[in-house]
């Protein structure tokens, strides 16, 4: 078990290094000279050269990468071009907004999806199953930004129950802040419930065909106990992996939802930085999000043996 944990932890380091290299390379591939862009058209060659030297852009690429990596390791992601603020605190502030939405939504979706998937598998090919699968497939097919717009139109504009634009941090008072988060969370929960229900159902179907489940039934274990004790724990492991992937994908995909609900989250920060050609921010958000994604997958892999002890043995 300890060996498994250590091996998995060690494997994360080269991945993170490669991710950093990919981000660095990507930023160097952007057409146009970032210095020229910063200084504008009126800067003369001497000014450009001086700024290049100051930013270390005249050094060979491997050296630039090394310096950047050293700075990143110290938590220095550079400065935003638009507002001259350090990038990391900016990212952390925006990340808090996105993280609350994503975490609450995925937690709610899991609470809905795992029982739904279990019931569907238990009732396989009966009307209840058909209903659940159809519902999940429908939810899966609705684009989040459209569902968000519809909910906003109905609950915000028609009924006037919830605010349509704006954001207040939860620290300014829970009720006021939460009002802005209800619709984005509901939207995400609905959509992710679709994805997770199908996965939970598929793995529960696989597990309930195994002999130990038949055995448990044959020896007269009550049906609810068969499901709760024998099917659920073993069917949950693959779903856990998917939850990890969903969490990571949402960090990249939440930009659209934050646009619909005008929330100052991480996705919106990235899109705004792309528009403003604020490359230090783009670079920082990419690195930060990819790192979080790698760490989430690490966490899932570390939790996996709790649900499926065979994993750590292999």
């Amino acid at each position: 078990m300890l060996g498994y944990v250590l091996r998995r932890l060690l494997l994360t380091l080269p991945t993170l290094l490669l991710v950093a290299l990919a981000v660095f390379t990507l930023m160097r591939l952007i057409p146009g000279d970032p210095v020229q862009l910063m200084l504008g058209d009126r800067a003369d060659d001497a000014q450009v050269a001086e700024q290049r030297a100051r930013m270390g852009l005249d050094a060979p690429l491997p050296l630039q990468f090394g310096r950047w990596l050293a700075a990143v390791a110290k938590g220095d992601l550079g400065q935003s071009i638009t507002d001259q603020q350090p990038v990391l605190p900016l990212i952390l502030e925006r990340f808090r907004v996105s993280a609350v939405i994503v975490l609450v939504a995925v937690a709610l979706a899991t609470l809905l999806a795992v029982p739904a998937g279990l019931v569907a598998a238990w009732q396989q090919n009966r009307p209840v199953d058909l209903f659940i699968v159809l519902g999940a497939t429908l939810l899966l097919s609705v684009p989040s930004f459209w569902l968000g717009l519809l909910l906003l139109l109905f609950f915000g504009l028609q009924l006037g129950w919830l605010p349509v634009v704006g954001y207040a941090p939860l620290s300014d008072g829970f009720a006021a802040g939460a009002a802005y988060l209800v619709l984005p969370i509901v939207t995400l929960t609905l959509i992710e419930t679709g994805v997770l229900t199908r996965m939970a159902r598929a793995s529960a179907i696989e597990v309930q065909q195994l002999e130990y489940v038949t055995h448990a039934r044959a020896k007269g274990v009550p049906e609810w106990r068969v499901l709760a004790r024998h099917v659920l724990p073993n069917a949950f492991a693959p779903t856990l992996t998917l939850i990890g992937l969903v969490l990571g994908n949402l960090l990249g995909g939440i930009a659209v939802l934050e646009t619909v609900f005008t929330l100052p989250g991480l996705g919106r920060l990235l899109v705004d930085a792309i528009y403003a050609r604020d490359y230090p921010v783009v670079q920082g958000v990419l690195l930060f999000t990819a790192t979080i994604y790698v760490l989430i997958n690490l966490l899932v892999d570390l939790l996996y043996p709790l649900f499926d002890p065979r994993v750590s043995v292999q």
Binding site: T15, L18, V19, L21, A22, V23, L26, L29, I30, P31, N125, L130, V133, T137, L138, L140, S141, V142, P143, F145, W146, L149, L150, L153, L157, R198, R201, A202, I205, G248, N249, L250, L251, G252, G253, A255, V256, T259, L270, V271, I274, Y275, V282, L286, T289, A290, Y293, V294
Partner: protein
């Protein structure tokens, strides 16, 4: 029975959308780009089945034109992702050794990014236009094809008929093309079907963010974005494009389920 229904409804939905997309290449009720400020924000009527937008453009015509843009972008993207990913996967799985390690290290690095994030990042490099999207999304999704193909090839190369082909003296390339590649078709087809859906969704999301196909060319995503400020009074601007995306995705998802049951019963849900 239930799964046959999947295939029927799925193909019907996808078929209708593809027909719309093809039809739009030769005919739309109105010019999808023609402005008519006198006719702006009109509700659906006999003359404009789906109403008009904030510039008086016919929404139905724009939906049709949007279908061809989205279908084209998604098809070309999936084609490149499948061809590129398969090539990497086959080479890595068949040659193995250092080639495999280097290719997969590169591949897994790309997989370490959430798909949409990688696509957003690549859009910065390639620029927001329809071929930029193809390149960005193709690169973002090819690694998962490479993974699946490599896995399949690794399983296949130990099979007796592949061994037999080598023993009778066939060059590696012939063995690969004749005996290994054809057997990768089923898993790749299943993946490509779902990928078509992901790409379509990602393309509309990028267009919605203003980082996809630039206006005035209509896509369902940028139609939703530009209609958004008027949605309270002109609900149809928000309904039609979103419904089209949802129905297309539903069709693809149903078709994907049916195809998976058919081609790869082990993965049947």
């Amino acid at each position: 029975m239930k799964w046959r229904l999947n295939a029927v409804v799925g193909s019907a939905l996808v078929g209708v959308i593809l027909l719309l997309a093809l039809a739009a290449l030769v005919w739309t009720p109105y010019d999808p780009l023609a402005l008519s400020l006198r006719a702006k924000l009109q509700a659906p009527s006999a003359a404009h089945w789906l109403g008009t937008d904030e510039f008086g453009r016919d929404v139905a015509s724009r939906i049709m034109a949007g279908a061809s843009t989205s279908a084209l972008v998604a098809s070309v993207t999936v084609f490149f992702a499948v061809v590129g990913g398969s090539l990497v996967g086959v080479v890595a799985g068949f040659v193995r050794g250092w080639t495999d390690r280097v290719l997969m290290a590169f591949n897994d690095t790309l997989l370490a990014f959430p798909g949409m994030l990688l696509a957003l990042a690549l859009m910065v490099v390639v620029g927001a236009n329809r071929w930029g999207i193809v390149l960005a999304l193709g690169l973002a999704y090819a690694p998962s094809v490479a993974r699946v193909v490599r896995g399949t090839v690794l399983g296949l190369r130990e099979k007796e008929y592949v061994e037999a082909s080598r023993m009778i003296g066939n060059p590696e390339l012939t063995t690969m093309a004749r005996h290994v590649l054809p057997n990768c078709v089923a898993p790749v087809a299943v993946l490509a079907t779902s990928m078509f859906g992901w790409v379509l969704l990602a393309e509309s999301a990028l267009s919605f963010l203003g980082l996809g196909v630039p206006p005035p060319a209509p896509t369902w995503g940028n139609m939703l974005a530009s209609g958004r400020p008027y949605m309270q009074t002109a609900v149809w601007l928000g309904l039609a494009p979103g419904l089209c995306i949802a129905l297309t995705l539903l069709g693809i998802n149903l078709l994907g389920d049916a195809l998976r049951d058919r081609l790869d019963p082990r993965m049947a849900l």
